[in-house]
Point group: C2
Chain length 643, copies 2
């Protein structure tokens, strides 16, 4: 199966993601590097690197100046940044950046204890409390992220120093939990998916065993965190160890059938489970993953691919409960849903998994970052009203503009590592097939597998044409190409050199087989007609409302385009919606939509016996991912529809 | 001006409130008496009376067995119950009940300390901490409620024992805060309005002075609670003393212009302010009260008269923020809004104040109690969805069925005391005028003022006719009658013995003057046409939705009447809505409404590109105050409207 090596063999070409690739390289990674070093004025302090310096000094000298600062999981910000930098280096060699990464890795090595243990919080602040608070203290979580960084850095740069460090930590964990039989499982899952990556990278069975151990132990003793709390005499936040929904430990994972609790924890866990199911052929686990994925995507997911309906616990709530304005909808959770869906797609070749990856990517995840790459949303609501959003007691979390950084800075580097490894999701190269899941323009080096290169050329999502070009090493190359046909595309046409191709279409993929020469072009023409989206009438918040989608993009209305008042605007049922030409200078290049609609006369009067007067108007919609880039401003995705 | 004496002179007649009068007397008061004595199986323990017994024993013997149990303000439940019982006794003499009340009052007297101090929490549990935690500890709040009970009991039964006890406590408070100059003001306002009542009952200027003191000091030192917390070494809940919105102390009250914070605290404070403004002629205070009342009713009030949009802080949030399903909308807060509006109506004779009293009374307050008087809602949402309401993290407070009692039992006795003193709000007898504000059937004894009796006869709110009969002591009686014309009544006809009367209509009141004999009947015919209510388009939650009102009653749809699915139901714009005949056996007697509407085909699919199919249907609506009386069930007030 395709692994991270792929990244090194994909060159993002001209097109939509090219801008993001450059942004990550030129702005996001340097900006985040500064943030980790506390060099951004007016932003929340990170202290990440400094924590490692202190831990290193303490290990060297037995003591350090200053105090650990930040969240108990602060180390993971460095890990995610390193992972993003690794992906970027694979595509854009940069000796200076690589040198700085190497220096950080050296520092990380110095912060590692002799027995392999690595965690600056415990090393600096609580050396005697290792492994006593799995519920809250994120030791396994931080280890997981650093393992991911290690695998990525090794595969992208060929340098194995961080991998050695993290194999040391993984061995330490193995010893503690397997050999010495320590009880428990992580409060915040992540290590499971990381260990699966480490296993695939190193072929070391022990790491798979350890991943399976944490998956299998979870929820078997559902009182574990309660007992753990009774034993220890310290706490990070005083979190309730008995909240078994929050931590997905109310039952063994194989008996779980609803996605519950902290959304990021949930999807990280499920990602590890799906990966383990794939590696082990465990059909029970596969079935559980299917059930949980269905529960999320068919009952608990926003139309933007966001998940987590409640601020309280940053959590899933109940089926069909999807409030728009108070949504938590964390950027990291949408990213986790992409991870989970990607693994499911490896488990079974169904386009619906890629459809969800695309939904989350083009909408929630991209909205998580300012278009200029320097500000970030943690929370991605589907309706924002200045005066209420970010201000009312119930909306403190739902900020109407992106801040520069966060005290809890999990989301920004998560966006960076996802965008810089986008090819991992766009393509799956498996024995006997090349799957084109997401239409990211660029060139894929398949010399190992199919004897040549494939270039995808497109202006998608703003153009409907996706062209596959071939550069065989011999005269031709045989490529068994599986192209996703998105569920939203009603009429899709596939041509070879202009002539329509008949091919098998199964579970959302068109399967083409051909010996292609350098002159051949396979073209997919998707149907980018504007679509109206309706929610199940079981979702109270969206009664009588419609969302507008074009291609993978969910659109929204913002005040700035609509007379600074979107609450009085509705869309005409079956009204015409026209698509603007491509506007290269607006919001980094978009196509707007113009819909026939109505505008009510605005009334300050709270209650009235008179229906508000209304007149026809033109409603302007912009892609959701671009919202909040033009100042404080109303925004709404689900718009009332009127006959 | 009319004071509590009135209650003794009004006999609730046949009609809508007659049932409630009997219910309070026969069920609610006895039930609550049992609850206070911990005799209700399966209900939350109260321990109220037991707390007084322990305090009495401790005062007598220096020690007591057992421990104080319940909220720090548990005493106030006894006070509110006693006040309700007093009102009931005024109308329905009941020697046994009066004896039990007298016994409780004796017990209260025994629980009073020699210096006049009365509070079982502090006497039993924290004797050394009196007056050290005004922010949280509710001493002044409990004193205020017991003062109200004392005034009511004296005026309704002529017995002054409780009044003496509470004058002792009021004098103690006066000494502490005025003579000894202690700093501070109550965390939970209530004493202000109570002291105004005590002043009017006793004519003792000191009590008015003390009320004005607390009003005037509030927010002058807005850091008072912060400083207080720094000084003390104990806490009740660890509440944030710096939350100045919560406690309405961010600025002196005369500089406040938005209703903020804990909604009950706010309206209790404003009630005291309005009462003080009336007694003192303080025009600045009057203007502030006007501004705050307008802010509530024009920006922050639900259509049911409920207030408090957020569970967090049980609080007001922001203008036009009125979520239906997560509303706090506490029963006590709606009752407080009635208190405040009633005082505003004394300040200025405008029908809008009575309109709001009526809105809160017939909708939120009545909904706060099961129709059989034995279960209560604390929280009164405008949309309830079993599976989410009461269950989702965001909806734990919004229960879908009424519980028997509460650990914090402020609402049930508050409903009882309001309903049993309803005449206080229905009528205002002021020099030279009799104001008929609410149309409660019954007989008013006006021998002191207008030389006879006036009887209001009506089946309102289910009949549009309100008849005033007269029983002069002489041949005729001169009655300057001011009858409220509700804002919802488009066409109102007033007749004297069948002939239309021309009269001045000003600010929502029709002013009639006449010498009436026993044969005369003044009849008001209100327009009970069904009205559609629309919210300002600034209220996001109600976009595209309509509420249905008939007379004072807001209607709702419940699942039980509508195929157990209300989320797929919409009302036809301008569709016909018919009114059923009076159904005496349904929900204790109601008129249903039948509206032309549409029902969508229910879809489980979360998102779809197809608009749901729909067909015409008949939608059944019932009065909001009756909802939740037929088991677990969906409910919605704001219903989508479609052309």
């Amino acid at each position: 199966m395709g692994d991270l090596k792929l990244v090194r063999k994909f060159e993002v070409g001209v097109g939509f993601f090219n801008r993001y690739e450059k942004l990550v390289k030129d702005v996001v990674l340097p900006y985040q590097e500064k943030a980790l070093n506390d060099q951004i004025e007016g932003a929340e302090k990170s202290h990440c690197i400094e924590n490692f310096r202190m831990a290193a000094k303490k290990i060297k000298t037995g003591a350090c100046d200053g105090e650990f600062y930040g969240m108990v999981f602060q180390d993971s910000d460095v890990a995610k940044w390193l992972e993003g930098a690794a992906y970027s280096l694979a595509q854009n060699p940069d000796a200076e950046l690589e040198k700085r990464c190497d220096d950080i890795i050296e520092l990380i090595g110095e912060a590692q204890q002799k027995d392999g243990y690595l965690n600056t919080y415990f090393t600096v602040k609580e050396p005697d409390k290792r492994w006593t608070n799995l519920q809250e203290a994120h030791e396994l979580y931080c280890a997981g992220h650093m393992i991911e960084a290690a695998v990525a850095y090794a595969e992208c740069t060929g340098k194995s120093r961080l991998l050695e460090i993290m194999c040391g930590m993984a061995d330490h964990i193995y010893k503690h939990f397997i050999e010495e039989g320590a009880e428990g499982y992580p409060g915040h899952p992540e290590i499971e998916l990381a260990l699966m990556r480490l296993f695939r990278c190193t072929k070391e069975e022990r790491y798979k065993e350890l991943a399976m151990h944490f998956i299998n132990m979870r929820g078997v003793d559902s009182e574990y965190f309660v007992k753990e709390k009774e034993k220890r005499n310290w706490t990070v936040w005083g979190a309730d160890p008995g909240d078994k929904e929050y931590a997905q430990n109310g039952a063994p994972v194989r008996e779980q059938d609803k996605a519950v609790g902290h959304a990021v924890r949930a999807v990280y866990l499920y990602t590890g489970m799906a990966d383990a199911a794939m590696e082990t052929g465990d059909t029970t686990l596969t079935e559980v993953c299917r059930t949980l994925w269905n529960n999320i995507t068919q009952r608990r997911m926003y139309v933007t691919g966001a998940i987590g309906s409640a601020y309280e616990g940053e959590a899933f709530t109940k089926d069909y409960h999807l409030p728009n304005d108070t949504a938590y909808a964390e950027t990291c959770a949408a990213i986790g849903l992409i991870f989970f869906s990607n693994k499911m797609l490896y488990l079974e070749r169904k386009g619906k998994y890629a459809d969800v990856m695309e939904r989350a990517l083009y909408n929630c995840v991209l909205a998580g970052m300012q278009l200029d790459g320097t500000k970030f949303f943690y929370v991605n609501p589907l309706e924002v009203l200045p005066g209420i959003s970010g201000e009312a007691q119930t909306h403190k979390h739902a900020l109407p503009v992106r801040p520069k950084w966060f005290a809890c800075a999990c989301c920004p580097p998560n966006v960076a590592r996802l965008l810089s490894s986008i090819a991992e999701y766009a393509w799956h190269v498996i024995p006997g097939a090349l799957f084109s899941n997401l239409f990211v323009g660029g060139t894929l080096d398949l010399s190992d597998s199919f004897g040549g290169k494939v270039t995808l050329e497109t202006a998608y999502p703003y153009d409907n044409k996706i062209r596959y070009h071939f550069a065989p090493e011999q005269e031709t190359m045989y490529v068994p190409l599986a192209i996703r046909i998105p569920a939203w595309s009603r009429n899709t046409k596939i041509t070879l050199n202009g002539r329509e191709v008949r091919c098998e279409i199964k579970d959302g993929y068109a399967y083409l087989h051909g010996n292609y020469s350098a002159k051949d072009v396979v073209t997919v023409e998707l149907d980018l007609s504007v679509r109206r989206v309706y929610t199940s009438n079981k979702v109270s918040a969206n009664t009588g409302r419609v969302a507008i989608q074009r291609g993978p993009l969910i659109y929204c209305i913002e005040g700035v385009d609509n007379e600074n008042d979107i609450l009085s605007v509705s869309l005409k049922k079956d009204g015409e919606i026209t698509v603007s030409e491509y506007l290269p200078d607006k919001l980094c290049g978009i196509q707007e939509l113009y819909a026939e609609g109505y505008r009510e006369t605005v009334s300050d009067e709270l209650y009235s016996f008179d229906a508000p007067a209304e007149e026809a108007c033109r409603v302007t919609l912009v892609p959701y991912y671009t919202w909040g880039n033009r100042g404080l401003n109303q925004m709404r995705v689900w718009i009332p529809e009127e006959a």
